[in-house]
Every structure is written in C-alpha cells, then in structure tokens.
C-alpha cells in the first residue's frame, strides 16, 4: 500500500507548529512544510505540492475555512485531502467544517507520537474520493 509522504501544516501557534513538525518529520518520517498563516500556505503550496494539508481552524488573518476555500481555487489542490485541526469539536462545528470540504478532523490536544499514523486514513480516504 502506498504511504503518505508529503504534508503541509498550517498553524499560527509557534509551539504547536514545532511539535507538529517534530511529530511528522521525525516520528512519522514525512516530508513536511510548516506555514505560520493561511497566506504563507497559499504562497508555498504549489511549489511544495503536498499530498495532504493539515490546517488549523482558528488563525488570525485567513481562518482555516477561508484558507481551505482559497486552496481549492488552485487547480493542483482540488483533489488534495485537507484535515482540520481544532480544539473545538462540538458535533455541529465538526459538521460545519466538513461542509467546507475538509476530509476530516484531528482534535487538539493531539498525540505527537501517533499524529503521522492518524493522518494516513484521511489521505487514503481523500485520494479515494477525489
């Protein structure tokens, strides 16, 4: 089975960003690009060509859902799975986030030792539906 290898992470909190980077790059052995904002992600996404995007929901500037909408305008990003990451996980909010076109949701706090493994099913599901 093919494995996920390339992930872009968009997270405004620098501590969480470092933790995600360590978790995905060192524990998960993935090729990772971390961005501090939605606009930074939009500027880098075409060159990096991620197989999956991990996207924080609440960010200053472009929010997660706004970033997702902008990413989906890019031809190369139309079939790429996007997984939201949030500390808010009320069922109505989850449904709302999925309606924005996200493939899934990872709830914070997350386990840095299993994050890379937790993303794999979203990638398989996202590829299957694209």
């Amino acid at each position: 089975m093919k494995k996920l290898t390339r992930v872009m992470c968009v997270e405004d909190d620098p501590d969480i960003r470092l933790l995600i980077e360590m978790s995905l790059a060192i524990v998960g052995q993935l090729d990772v690009l971390c961005c501090a904002s939605g606009s930074q992600a939009l500027a880098s996404v075409t060159a990096f060509a991620p197989e999956l995007v991990l996207l924080d929901v609440m960010m200053p500037g472009l929010s997660g859902p706004e970033t997702l909408c902008a990413l989906r305008q890019l031809p190369a990003m139309q079939g790429v799975p996007v997984v939201f990451m949030t500390a808010k996980a009320m069922p109505a909010e989850v449904e709302q986030l999925l309606l924005h076109g996200a493939t899934g949701l990872i709830v914070k706090p997350f386990d840095p030792m299993t994050l890379a493994r937790d993303l794999q099913p979203f990638w398989e599901h996202g590829r299957g539906s694209s």
Partner: protein
C-alpha cells in the same frame, strides 16, 4: 545484529525523548508571555478567548492535560464564571512553570 538494532532503536528513542523534552521546556518558558497576553486582553473579549483557545490546544498536546482543560473551561465559560476560571488557570500555569524550573 539484533543487539545493534536494539541499541540503535534505544538511541533513536532517547533522541526523540530529548527533542520532545526540549520543545516542552520551550513551551513552558513561553507560558508567562501567554499569561501576559491573556491578562492584557479585555476580560471576556474575543481576543482573550482566542488566547485561551490556543493555550487549550497547545497545553494538552505538550502533556499538560489539566492546564489545557482549565484553558478550555475558561474559553467556554460565561462572563460570571470567567474570573474564577482564570484564577484556576493562573494557578495551574505557575505550577507548570515551577515544576519545570525545579527539574
């Protein structure tokens, strides 16, 4: 060979634990600044709740479960309960700092 692999695995695991501990220390060193941002934001404002939201997500992921839960409780409580929730959060936050500096 098995022994060598085991030694390699152990070294990798130690390296990972050391990196995680360094990130954890860095997170705790930043807690006073996070508290300042919370304390300076108008009580119950969107800015204060956004800071609480960030702390809730970060603290739990770094292993500070009680601190994360206290931040989440403060984020979601009403304005009447907010003072008490912030006091609890402040106490847990300083406990985390004290525990880290004692190591």
């Amino acid at each position: 060979m098995v022994q060598a692999d085991s030694a390699g695995d152990a070294a990798a695991s130690d390296g990972l634990a050391a990196r995680f501990a360094a990130l954890q220390r860095h997170f705790v060193e930043g807690l006073p600044a996070r508290w300042s941002a919370l304390a300076l934001a108008p009580r119950g404002s969107d800015a204060q709740r956004a800071e609480l939201h960030r702390l809730a997500g970060a603290a739990g992921s770094f292993g500070y479960t009680a601190l994360g839960q206290a931040a989440s409780a403060a984020e979601h409580c009403n304005d009447v309960e907010l003072g008490a929730a912030l006091s609890t959060l402040k106490a847990l936050l300083w406990l985390a700092i004290k525990a880290e500096t004692a190591q």
